[in-house]
Symmetry: C2
Subunit: 137 residues, 2 copies
């Protein structure tokens, strides 16, 4: 937990290893990571990282997640070419979520949509707000 650091003022610095050891990984060793396009500020997707993928992402500046469905490292774009270049990584106040500011090459979503959040949900029903090839337009 990061409680001890929450009153630090802007510009204060902390040791990376100590900080990471205070992040909250779940029972599977994972932390959620939100990817946001750094300039347009679109939220592109949410996926998961373990400590090793987090450190690889910082080292390579190419976003690497942990795939829960495939149970392996998921270097975004390795097969699709739709890579995410890390511009900066943020952690939240209680250390249980990451925000990745990225430069997304092509669509972020496996459906070829630009982002994954294409279902609009409201009390009247759910509406699909972009089509499968929207990211290729």
């Amino acid at each position: 937990m990061l409680k001890q650091w929450e009153s630090l003022s802007e510009g204060s610095t902390l040791n990376l290893d100590e900080f990471i050891s205070n992040l909250v990984f779940n029972a599977d060793g994972l932390i959620p990571a939100i990817a946001q396009q750094h300039d347009s500020k679109e939220v592109l997707m949410m996926a998961w990282m373990n400590e090793k993928s987090l450190r690889e992402t910082l080292a390579t500046q190419q976003v690497c997640y942990w795939s829960r469905s495939r149970q392996t490292y998921w270097r975004k774009g390795e097969s699709s070419g739709h890579r995410q270049l890390l511009k900066s990584m943020r952690a939240d106040c209680d250390g249980d979520a990451l925000l990745l500011l990225v430069d997304q090459e092509g669509p972020a979503c496996h459906t070829n949509r630009r982002d994954c959040f294409y279902y609009d949900v409201n009390e009247q029903g759910v509406t699909v707000v972009s089509s499968e090839d929207a990211g290729l337009a």
Copy 2:
């Protein structure tokens, strides 16, 4: 899982109850919810919802999370006054994350910062990027 709907084109509609029954709630019955300021597109925070808080949020247009630490409903702003008015709710391609477009009253973070993502993480170390009263400026 929402796989069966991913090739639907823009404007297609789905039944809300059927859609919710296909969302992926974790073993604790929770789904992550990202709150984004609807106009500036800042990512404010990430928290969790269960089905009941999701439905309450849609019904009231005031964001209600499930607090994992307090194990109770967390009607954002109920004590602080820093409420989140829901502008729209989105779900992602595989139905395991929500994006809430909100109008945030005051700071979103319990530290009074505008947003919770105030630790910048990189290989050289971690830097605090806003001070505790930044949201009140």
